[in-house]
């Protein structure tokens, strides 16, 4: 009898605490719908018509100030271009270069990112959470916005240049105990990935422009390869899970 009397309040308390802690630790990321409405592009191109690509410069600004692009971003950009399979080889400025007499496409990328961490809002809401002895933490969420605009300049071996631009925005929402630098990195990574996909989708639309049309020997069968943009797996990722599950693999 006594066991039953204590068990209900105890179970209820444990449930409420688990719900509060679970909710207070949650976070989720939302990506805004892309501004461009181009359908996903794909094409089939002759393997031997592809030329090397040289990533010459990446210029980056954050909230209007120039910053050095992180090396992980350079790898992300090169990886995304490589995944399209539109180019035969991929070079990066400062490393091994293609031969000077070889036809190639030179790429210059500029990234203007805008970070809005809502610091004032976070401080006031944090104060409220603290003043409530943390009982309000499951009910008060904090926000972090990140947007990026990428401009891609692609110069063909004969000097012809094409420009492409793409914009992507996203927000991370989290409760106090769900705040973690990794959440912000996830947001930035997903926004960058979405923007790159949009940009490269436009490049694929012009895939014939970047092919060397006269390099196909007549006595060889034509081998082809499908080129397309590797799209992010999901546009909006509702995350409400423990941070351990969301660590990069």
């Amino acid at each position: 009898m006594m066991g039953q009397f204590f068990s209900r309040p105890l179970i209820s308390t444990i449930l409420v605490m688990a719900l509060g802690l679970g909710t207070g630790c949650s976070h989720w990321i939302e990506l805004a719908a892309p501004i461009d409405t181009l359908p996903p592009a794909n094409a089939t191109v002759a393997t031997d018509a592809r030329v090397p690509l040289l990533l010459e410069t990446i210029r980056m600004t954050q909230n209007g100030s120039s910053i050095a692009p992180p090396s992980i971003l350079e790898r992300q950009v090169l990886g995304a271009i490589e995944a399209t399979r539109l180019f035969s080889q991929h070079y990066q400025s400062g490393y091994t270069q293609p031969m000077t007499n070889q036809a190639r496409v030179t790429v210059r990328l500029s990234i203007d990112s805008l970070v809005e961490p809502h610091s004032g809002q976070a401080a006031w809401r944090g104060f409220l959470v603290g003043a409530s002895m943390f009982t309000l933490s499951p009910f008060i969420s904090l926000n972090y916005d990140y947007g990026t605009q990428m401009s891609l300049e692609m110069e063909r071996w004969d000097g012809q240049v094409k420009h492409y631009t793409a914009i992507s925005n996203g927000s991370a929402h989290y409760h106090l105990f769900g705040a973690h630098p990794e959440v912000i990195e996830q947001l930035k990574g997903q926004v960058t990935e979405a923007c790159l996909s949009s940009l490269l989708n436009q490049v694929i639309q012009d895939s014939t422009f970047f092919l060397a049309g006269n390099t196909q020997p007549q006595d060889h069968p034509i081998r082809t390869v499908s080129v397309a943009v590797r799209h992010p797996s999901s546009r909006a990722i509702p995350v409400s899970r423990a941070l351990a599950d969301s660590s990069p693999r």
């Binding site: 909230n63 050095a68 004032g120 401080a123 104060f127 705040a179 973690h180 630098p181």
Partner: protein
């Protein structure tokens, strides 16, 4: 009054403009970075009115946890970030009688990052505080009280995740008018300690 001025200053910091900074000094403390640490100090009494008789004093131990709410904000000398957390407060009153006090206090802190590894900060904390000193002194009657602390300090980062801290707090203990008498106990609390960031 000092408490309110410090609190308002801390809360106004995020409203200042936040120009982009190419390279914040290391270690870079960003949103979600957590901090745990321990501060140890000694309570030195202040009798602020002629009605205050007690010269309470003794060591204080304050383990704490904090989480960073903002990336570095503002520009110039006041560039810094806001953290929120909580600390346990244990005070062993050795004078006027050997008694104890223990409390739990949510805490907010603004840390200035302009000086690289030397980082001054302003902090405020407050919460419930139980002590058996009350009832044995003329200023306080109930064992249930509140503790309010406001002060400033400086952290020196030995490595990216580890820092030594020294600081000063003004310490106030009273029962918020829930019992009579309630003159309050006031003290200075110089302290030192260490922090780990992760």
């Amino acid at each position: 009054m000092l408490v309110y001025i410090l609190l308002v200053l801390v809360m106004l910091m995020p409203a200042l403009p936040s120009p982009g900074h190419a390279a914040d000094p290391t270690p870079q403390i960003t949103v979600g970075t957590q901090e745990v640490g321990l501060s140890v100090g000694y309570l030195l009494p202040h009798r602020l009115t002629k009605y205050h008789k007690t010269e309470q004093q003794g060591p204080a131990f304050m383990p704490y946890w904090m989480i960073t709410l903002t990336d570095p904000i503002g520009g110039g000398w006041y560039r810094g970030h806001v953290s929120l957390g909580a600390e346990m407060v244990y005070i062993q009153f050795q004078e006027p009688v050997l008694t104890h006090g223990v409390g739990f206090a949510p805490k907010i802190k603004y840390t200035f990052v302009a000086l690289d590894r030397i980082r001054p900060y302003a902090e405020f904390s407050g919460g419930p505080f139980w002590t058996d000193l009350a009832g044995k002194i003329p200023e306080e009657s109930s064992q249930f009280n509140f503790v309010l602390m406001a002060g400033f300090g400086v952290s020196y980062f030995l490595t990216d995740p580890a820092a030594l801290n020294v600081g000063y707090r003004f310490n106030h203990i009273s029962n918020a008018g829930t019992d009579y008498p309630n003159l309050g106990l006031n003290a200075s609390l110089p302290y030192g300690g260490f922090s780990f960031f992760f």
